[in-house]
Structure formats: C-alpha cells, structure tokens
C-alpha cells in the first residue's frame, strides 16, 4: 500500500489505485476508464482484504501449532538425556530429573504468555493450547516416571511405613532369674 502511494506521488501522470475504494468518482480529475465499474471493484476490494486477513490468521494459527509442538522436541531430548543419566541416584541424574520436572511446570505456568502473540479472534488457539499442555504434561509425566525409576517417589508401602513406630503392647511383664 505504501509502495503504491509512493509510486503515485513520484511524477507519474496517472495511476490507478486498484485498492482505492472510494466510491465517488468526482473526487478524481480523471474519469474512470471505460468498462470499469466501481461497484465491482468495491466488492473485489473487500475480498482482497479478507484474503489478507485470512492469510495472517492462517499464519498465526500455523505458528501457534508450531509453538504448541515445540515441547515435543524438548521431550525427545529430555528422554535422551534421561537415558544417558541412568537409573542410579547421583548428582547428574537428580539434576536432569529435576530440570525435566521444572521445565514443563514453568511452561505450563506461562501458557497464556506463550500464545499471546497469536491471539486473534479469528484464530482458534484452543487446539494448540491443548496440545501444548498435553505435551508438557507428557514431559512432566516423563520426569515423574524418571523420579520413580530413581526410587524417589513414595509409591511403595515401604515408603510409608519406614518410620512407623512400633505398636504399643497392652501387657507388661518383667522378672527373670531370682536375684
């Protein structure tokens, strides 16, 4: 649009601005060329802008989906890292596990922000958001699973009874060999 205007302003004798959607011919010093009906242009014009908007929306939607799918790569990498870390408890494996837990959680906290740029009333962000959330939850699950394989989750009975004090006995008995 800007370009068109620039061209018009730079010494050209005439130019037809197809996108000009003013309906009054009186505003111009040059009459419309024959066969040109402004009405049809009018209609055409709106179609163009819609197209443009559609393209943008498409682009936004596409981007949103891309963003939503981004954790997947992350997930794969995390999986690889975890595989590398092994299943024994040491600093490296604990670090990886906690980052694997932390990343999805922080991502989930910022779901709104991540999709902010793609906000559009024409773009349906629910799908990408759901995917994003699902993938992050998958990452979280992976982290939790790792935590479990490391044996740090209280999923066994032993984790709940390991500090259970002995039951009290009702009866008491003492004695022994006579002094």
């Amino acid at each position: 649009m800007e370009k068109g205007k620039g061209v018009m302003g730079a010494g050209r004798r005439w130019a037809v601005d197809f996108s000009d959607n003013s309906t009054a011919p009186s505003s111009r010093d040059i009459p419309d060329p024959p066969g040109f009906t402004r009405a049809s242009v009018d209609q055409d014009d709106s179609a163009v802008s819609r197209q443009k908007k559609d393209a943008e929306a498409n682009w936004k939607a596409q981007k949103a989906w891309e963003v939503a799918q981004a954790p997947f790569k992350n997930l794969l990498m995390m999986g690889f890292m975890m595989w590398m870390a092994g299943s024994t408890v040491h600093l490296f494996s604990i670090g990886i596990t906690f980052s694997a837990l932390w990343q999805p959680i922080s991502a989930l906290q910022g779901v709104g922000k991540v999709f902010e740029p793609y906000k559009d009333n024409k773009v349906d962000l629910l799908g990408p958001k759901l995917l994003f959330i699902a993938l992050n939850l998958g990452g979280l699950a992976l982290g939790v699973w790792k935590l479990n394989t490391l044996g740090l989750l209280p999923t066994h009975a032993s984790d709940w009874v390991s500090s259970l004090s002995p039951a009290q006995e009702v009866e008491y008995s003492g004695g022994g060999i006579p002094l």
């Binding site: 984790d159 259970l164 003492g174 022994g176 002094l179």
Partner: protein, 984 residues
C-alpha cells in the same frame, strides 16, 4: 519420607564403603579413658631391696598380683590370674622373686620382681584338700639353694627357689588331720606341722627340713574340741579356742612334748561375753580374741600364763609382726575414733610403750580399716620410721607415713556389681561450674598454638602441647549437661557397698558414698548390695528435683533374708532415705510407669511370691490400679528348669496385709525335661531400648514387619552332661536348645536345637533379634547365631493408599493374647574368640545401625557390625541386595583389627559392657568394667549428624572470607566498568 529413606540409604551406602571404625593415634584419650585397679588387697609384702625404687607386692581378692610403687601408688606391673586361680599366699624369695601360691595350693609360681616376668611354675599335687601355707625361710639352704616350704593339699613340699624343682615331699595322709600351722623355728633345721585330727586331737609333727624325714609325731587329745583358727604366740606355742568359744587352750610343744593349759575367758574378763574368735596374727607373745562387741589383747607370759593387756570396744585392726632387729618385733595397731584413725606401732614384748603414735584424718566414706601392713625404713637420723599400708572397708588402699596419707587407690572400683547413669545438672545463668581458662594470656597462647597447628607451623613440642590441651579440654569434664549428651554421671555400685559417681568426660570420681544401709548391724548381719535402678529421672515435670537411684540390697546371702532399699541423690551423693523391708527381695521389676514426680514404679517380689509396690504413695497406687490387669511377671527357676508366669490377683491377705502388697497367681509354666535340658542363659531386651520403626525395608522396596515385643525372653538350655567345661563331652551327647518365649502368655514362639554344641552361652537381645555365642563341638570352633523374628500377620499391609490415608492398624495397641503369626530367620557363623561379655550399641532414637560389642577373652572390646549377623546374607547377593547393604555370606565372622573399641588397651578381668545413648543420635557411650574401667564414645554409622573432631574449621573460615572478598572485588570492578561504559 522418601527423602528420609533416601538419606538413610546414602548413610548405609557410605557406611558400606568403609565399615571400619577406627581411631587415629592422636585421637586416643580424647573421648576415652582407662583406669587400672587391682581390687581389695589380701596380702602385701614389702620389697626390702635397698637399691632401686621402693615397691610393695600385693595379692588381691580379684586374683591380681601387682607390684606397686611405694612412693605414688602406681602399678609397676600386674598379673590377673584366672577366676578360679585364687591366690593363697605371696612372698618374696631371695629378694628378687615374687613367689605366689594359688588354686588351693596347687600352683606355685615365681615372678621376677623388677619386671613381673614369670620365672617358673610348679604344679603341686597332694592326696587331699587342705589349708595351704607358703613359707620363705631366709636361712634354710640346701646345696646353696634357697628353699621354699609349701604345705598344700595335705602334703609338705620343699621347693627350690631358683627353678621350682620339688626337692622333697612328705604326705600327711591321716584321714582327719587338718593342718593349722606350719612353723619354721629360726636357726634350726626343723619344721613343725601342727593341726587337729578328729575334732579333738592335737597333732604335732616334727620334720627335718633337709630331707623331709619325720622326726617326731606327738598327739594329745582335748575333750572339749576346737573351733576356728589357732594363733601362734611363739615358735613352740599356739593358742586355740575350744568348741564353745569360751575357753582358751594354750598348747606348747617344746622339745617335742605337748603340754597344755586351759584358761576360761571369763577368768580373764569379768563380764560374760558371747562366743569369741581368735584374730589371726603372728605377733609373738600376744594374740587377740574378738567377741561381738569387744576386742581383747592377751599376752602369754612364760608357759601358758595369760594376761589381758587391753580391752577395747573400738573397731581395731592389727598388722603382722615385723622384725626390726634380731630380737625385736614391731606391729601396728589401728583404732577408730569418729573421723580419725589412730595408728600405734608397738614392740611385741613391750605393750605399754609406743614406738609411734599418730592420728590421721580419715574420710568417713572409706569406712573401717580392714587390714594393716607395716613396713619400716631408716630415717636420716638412723632411727626407725614406719609406714603402714591400710585396706579400708570400701576396698581402697592407702599408705600412711608421718601422720599423713601419702597416696590412696580406689580399688573398690575393681569389683563393680551394677552400673546406671544419671544426667548432670542443667547449666544455669550465674552458676559458673567449670573454670574455663586461667587467664587471658593462657587463653591467647592456647589459641596461637592451635592456629600454628592448623597452619602446620608447629614444632613437635608445640604438637605435644596441643595434644595435651586437647586431652585436658575443660569442655568435656564440666559438671553440667551438654547439648550432645556426652557428659553424664556413671553411678556404680561396688561389692564393698559403696556408690561412686564417675564423670564420663575424664573418669574422675565426682562423689562416693559408702551406703549406711550396707553397714553391718544388729538387724542386718552380712548385707550385700544387689542392684541399682534409676528411681527418679526428672524429665518434664519435677524439673527442680534431683535425679536419684535406688540401691537394692539384702541382709544375707540366701534369698529369703529381708531386703534394704536406699535412695541416693545422684547430684549430691547423699542418701535421701533408706528403708529396711520386712520382706525379702527376690526380684525387682521396674514398671514402665512413673508417678507425678517422675518416680518410677517398682514391683518387688518377695520369697512368698507377694508383689510389693514402691513408692508407697497413693498416686503410685492409683496409676498401678489402672494398669493392674496388664501387669505380669515371670520367674526363671534355673535349678529346676522351670519358667513360670504369674499374674497379680488381689490385695495381700494374712499377716502382711497392706495396701501396697498384692497376691499373685500362677498363670503358666514351661518345664524343661531335666534329663535332657538345663537352663544356662536367659536374656531379655533392655527396658529402656528405643526402637525407631517396626518395618524393615528389604531389597526391591518390600517390607517386613519386625516382631517387636518387650515381653520376649531368650532361653538357652544345654544337655546336663554338656554343662561342664568345653570338651568334656562328645558331640553326640551334647546339644544346645534356644527358645524364644513370650513372658505374658508363656507361648514358645521359636525353638531351635544346635546338635553337638555346648555352652557357655552369651547372648544379647535387641529389637527383634537375638545373637548368641556358643561352642560347636563338631567344628571345634566357637559359633555365633542370630535369630530375627518377624510378624507375619502384618505382612499383608501393603496397600499404599491405605497407608497414605492412615487406614491401617499397625500402630494401634496390641494384646499378646491375640495369636501372633511369626516367622524367624536365622543363620550361624564361626567366630574366633571366646567371649566374656556381649552387648549392643543403643542410641537415643534407635535410627542408627547397630554394632555388637564383644568382650573377648583377651579382655578387649571388639565392635562388630550387626550387618555381619544378618540372616538374609547369601553367598551371592543380587545387585539390589548389595545396594541394600547385604554382605556376601562367609563361613566366619571377620575380625577387623581397627574395630577394637579398646584400641591398644586391655580391660583386665572384663565382666560387663554397658551402652548408654547420648543425645546425639549417631553416638552411643560405652562403659566396660572389670578390674579395669574403660569408657569411650562410639558412632556405629559414623557421626553423620555432627562435624567430626578433625573437621577443618580454619579451611571453612578461610573459604568464607575469600568468597566474601571476591564478591566485593568483582562488584567494585563491575561498577567501574559500567561507569566507563556510560561515559563512552
């Protein structure tokens, strides 16, 4: 919870990497102390060596022979003979050999006086048991060889002093002959053996000392008979008492002819006295008789004329005679007078004149003088000076010289009966309890030295100074409680009836108290202390009260004599009160309840199986009434092989009716067949043991529930044939049966037989396991077995959700009358040492892993991880089991030299090991006692909850300072850079 298990896992892991508990050389003495004692002195012989350090050789009731420095009372050398090797006599031969006669006169040994090396040992056999005498004549020679004369086991021996060879021997086989004295008249070659035969016959044998030939045998009969000992008043005269104890018989056998004279005691003393006994003494011309109240000294004049020289009602002790010149003998007399003792030294022939008369202030807590030994020295002005060694009622040994106590030894601590502990007072503001540092200069110097040490600039002398500073740190010997609970009082009861409070920091005696209730009295003839119990431990309530202990004692050796209770304040060492009971004390059962002043309830069972409740207060009674139906007791009659369970029934009926007395009824009994089993050991859990958890997490996260019960009794029985010494039976006729018995219901939970095994059994019971030590006759080795007992009825509590929501009944109170389903796991291992004692570490919360403390036959204490005695050990443990810390199964238990708790020291005559939890969970205090005392701190899983002694605080400080400096520097740099950036 998961985190905790994770940390515990780390803990196990780290401890599995380094299972060795050990000590660096410079840490010796930091937390441990060791004290050497010898026991109550029976006989003392002064070394008459002119040159060298003055010393005295003593034999004691703990079967110790020791050479002590006469100047300071330190031990030069010491030997502990076996428990059944009782010393009968000691003497010094040739001025350089210590001769000892022991084991009822059957072993004669010679030791080198300067260093205590054994020179020779002779075994003396004889036809029959008899009194034994050891005589070392100075002038009797036999082929240039000095001769020892020993009468033992009915046989007279002459033995070479050089090599212990028997030169000649002479039997006294007459059936009823009982030897009373063996006399060596100085300057002759004769030996007189006098004794009684057939109760009323006096016999005298004259023997040639050169060859043992019998020269003469005379006898005379006395219709009135004899009682007790005879006293030698000269080389040819003895004095004896007749069987009624009222007539004195003066018997002389000059030139081989027996003549006698009878003198009724009533002739000598006007007022009638009870039956008398002769006090053995060797002072010539004088003897003493003692009745209940009076001690009488009698002089023998000429041939059998008696004359009373002194009569005293004071407690008196007489020494043996000491010849100070050719014809002069001196002896010492000690008399008591309130807070003083009077020492007099007299010449034997001159009663009225005193060579020496001194008064010495004496601590009342030492009681009466029991024995006196006299020694002389020559003063610079060539006159005689005397020193006496006295043995007191509390078994302490003191040297008196010139009216002063030169040194004293607390040898009562060599015979500890029972031990308990007490907390120290809480530190309060304004109460300065310990002198911290003497002055600023000292303080600065100390810190400079320490700094030098940490910067490795210290010279060897400085290092020594630092070490001594560490050892004498005032911090550990303060008289107040500390945060870690390392400082406590060890309250010990000794056989002498004295209570000592020892500080755990440095082992010093804080106070001592000779129990008044253990003094002999009209009502209580021969009181003996039995046990110590914690009576009052102020905890939550009654914080202002001092803690106190209960001493239970009895008026005689038999179990039906009446008991005495004493309550002693552990801060001050004063007796709060004492109770003479009108009933016997057969058992004392501390109950798990305390009254409003934190006094623990105790149930005393008397000989008629009545239960008496103490303290006798209404508060205690109401608490007791509430738990009345839940209190049971059991008795082990090891003679009959019966274990009986009893319950309380109702208030006493009959003559002992009293609100606090209860009748009991028999509930159950376990009878072991007497022809095949004999009870030799019973063990229960310690009452104050704390168990952290009832669950045991095994590999693959599985749970096993421990069967934890306070009312379990471990009983070991052996075949009656096999109850003797090891090796006295063949493996086929010997077996050992171990039982686990519930003492409330009498249910036998487990029974296992070890064929071909034999006692003695040493066992320890803790949590849900018992470890016992015995001899395996087939393998010719000692064995240790472990039994762990698990509760199968709880095993299906595995639903995580139920556990998360707390919908389980694992912690609800259980009754033992509900039938338990238990499974046991056990395993046996060979072990090299034979044991004297066994104990287990105990910690405040019971989280820390346990170590067994084994008192070995070498009188050391060995720490052995409980993990070595885990019945789940297998030859090839899986990866998971390895991670859990299971050690691959080996045939025998390892003995790691670094895990000797006593490191290089020995606790001679080790009898018991006591463990006390400190407040710090990782640490336990260990006290081992025998003739020696040893105390140390142990951390079975290392000190995971505190920084170790060798932690480098300097490094930490330097790191922090360096970091702070770095932060400042980089901050300034970054500021400057930012500024420059802005100006650009």
């Amino acid at each position: 919870m998961a985190i905790r298990s994770f940390f515990l896992f780390i803990l196990f892991f780290s401890s599995s990497l380094s299972p060795v508990f050990s000590l660096y050389e410079d840490q010796v003495g930091l937390m441990d102390w060791h004290q050497q004692y010898i026991g109550k002195v029976k006989q003392a012989v002064f070394s008459s060596q002119r040159a060298g350090r003055k010393r005295v050789v003593v034999s004691t009731e703990e079967n110790v022979i020791a050479s002590l420095d006469l100047r300071h009372g330190e031990i030069f050398w010491r030997h502990l003979l076996g428990a059944d090797d009782v010393i009968d006599g000691i003497d010094i031969g040739l001025g350089k050999y210590v001769i000892t006669l022991s084991s009822g006169g059957s072993i004669l040994r010679s030791w080198n006086l300067p260093d205590g090396q054994m020179v020779w040992e002779s075994s003396l056999q004889g036809p029959k048991h008899s009194k034994s005498f050891l005589l070392v004549p100075t002038n009797l020679k036999f082929d240039k060889d000095n001769v020892l004369v020993v009468f033992s086991n009915g046989r007279l021996h002459a033995i070479s002093c050089i090599d212990g060879e028997v030169l000649w021997k002479k039997d006294f086989e007459a059936e009823s002959f009982e030897v009373q004295q063996v006399i060596l008249p100085p300057g002759s070659d004769l030996i007189h053996v006098v004794g009684f035969a057939a109760l009323s016959q006096f016999e005298m044998y004259q023997i040639n000392a050169k060859n043992g030939e019998l020269l003469k045998h005379e006898s005379a009969s006395f219709s009135s008979g004899f009682s007790g000992q005879v006293s030698l008043v000269s080389t040819e005269t003895v004095v004896a008492l007749d069987s009624t104890g009222s007539i004195l018989l003066t018997i002389s056998f000059q030139d081989g002819k027996i003549s006698s004279q009878q003198t009724p005691i009533s002739n000598l003393v006007e007022d009638s006295l009870g039956p008398a006994v002769i006090i053995p003494s060797s002072v010539s011309g004088i003897f003493a008789i003692k009745t209940d109240a009076v001690t009488i000294f009698i002089r023998v004049i000429g041939k059998g004329n008696l004359e009373v020289v002194e009569k005293t009602t004071h407690e008196i002790a007489v020494s043996d005679a000491l010849s100070i010149s050719e014809d002069q003998q001196a002896f010492a007399l000690i008399q008591h007078a309130s807070s003083e003792i009077h020492l007099t030294v007299k010449l034997a022939h001159d009663w009225d004149g005193n060579l020496l008369k001194e008064s010495v202030k004496m601590d009342r807590q030492r009681g009466l003088v029991h024995k006196v030994f006299i020694n002389n020295y020559i003063r610079t002005d060539r006159s005689y000076g005397f020193r006496v060694l006295i043995v007191m009622e509390d078994h302490s040994l003191l040297l008196l010289q010139q009216g002063e106590i030169v040194w004293s030894r607390e040898d009562g601590l060599a015979s500890i009966i029972d031990v308990t502990t007490s907390e120290l007072p809480v530190e309060r503001d304004g109460v300065s309890v310990a002198k911290v540092e003497h002055n600023l200069f000292e303080w600065l110097k100390g810190h400079m030295l320490k700094l030098k040490g940490t910067l490795m600039l210290a010279s060897p002398e400085d290092m020594a100074a630092i070490q001594s500073m560490r050892l004498k740190s005032s911090e550990k010997s303060k008289m107040t409680r500390d945060h870690n609970g390392f400082r406590k009082l060890l309250i010990v009861l000794t056989r002498a009836g004295k209570l000592f409070a020892l500080h755990t920091g440095d082992g010093r005696i804080v106070w001592s108290y000779l129990l008044r209730s253990l003094h002999k009295s009209e009502a209580c003839q021969s009181p003996i202390g039995l046990n110590l119990y914690q009576w009052q431990v102020p905890h939550h309530h009654a914080m202002d009260e001092n803690p106190s202990v209960l001493v239970v004692s009895r008026c005689g050796p038999s179990s039906d004599t009446s008991g005495v209770l004493s309550f002693v304040d552990t801060y001050t060492g004063k007796e709060l009160s004492s109770l003479s009971l009108d009933h016997a004390v057969v058992q004392v059962i501390p109950l798990p309840y305390t009254d409003s002043t934190e006094q623990r309830l105790h149930l005393l069972i008397d000989a008629d199986k009545h239960a008496h409740l103490y303290p006798k207060t209404s508060g205690a009674l109401s608490i007791f009434k509430r738990e009345f139906s839940n209190i049971y007791w059991y008795s082990v009659e090891d003679q009959n092989g019966i274990i009986k369970g009893h319950a309380l029934k109702c208030k006493c009926t009959g003559e002992v009716a009293d609100e606090f007395c209860f009748d009991t009824r028999d509930l159950w009994s376990v009878v072991f067949p007497s022809e095949s089993e004999k009870t030799i050991a019973t063990v229960t859990r310690k009452l104050n043991e704390v168990v952290h958890t009832q669950a045991k997490v095994v590999a693959d996260q599985d749970v096993m529930y421990k069967y934890i019960s306070r009312n379990l009794l471990f009983v070991a029985t052996v075949a009656p044939k096999g109850s003797g010494e090891i090796g006295s039976v063949t493996p086929e006729e010997s077996w050992l049966v171990a039982y686990l018995i519930d003492t409330v219901t009498g249910r036998i939970l487990h029974r296992v037989t070890h064929h071909g095994s034999q006692g003695p059994v040493h066992a320890v019971f803790s949590e849900n396991w018992v470890v016992y030590h015995y001899f395996n006759l087939r393998a010719h080795r000692y064995e240790m077995s472990v039994i762990e007992i698990y509760d199968q009825s709880r095993a299906d509590n595995k639903d995580v959700w139920k556990l998360v929501l707390g919908k389980h009944n694992l912690t609800s109170p259980i009754s033992l009358f509900s039938r338990p389903e238990v499974i046991t796991k056990s395993q046996s291992y060979f072990f090299t040492h034979s044991l004297k004692a066994i104990a287990v570490t105990s910690t405040a919360k019971g989280i820390t892993s346990k170590q067994l403390l084994l008192g070995t036959i070498g009188d050391q204490v060995l720490a052995l991880d409980k993990r070595f005695l885990d019945p789940r050990r297998t030859v090839n443990p899986t990866q998971l089991e390895k991670e859990e810390g299971i050690i691959p199964l080996t045939e025998s238990l390892p003995i790691i030299p670094q895990s000797y708790v006593t490191h290089a020291l020995r606790v001679e005559g080790l009898r018991g090991i006591i463990t006390v939890p400190a407040k710090l969970e990782s640490t336990t205090l260990v006290f081992a006692h025998g003739v020696d005392l040893f105390f140390t701190q142990l951390a079975p899983s290392r000190t995971y909850d505190s920084l170790t002694e060798d932690f480098s605080y300097a490094l930490l400080l330097i790191t922090i300072v360096a970091l702070v400096a770095a932060i400042f520097v980089t901050w300034r740099l970054s500021e400057r850079k930012e500024l420059q950036e802005k100006w650009r």
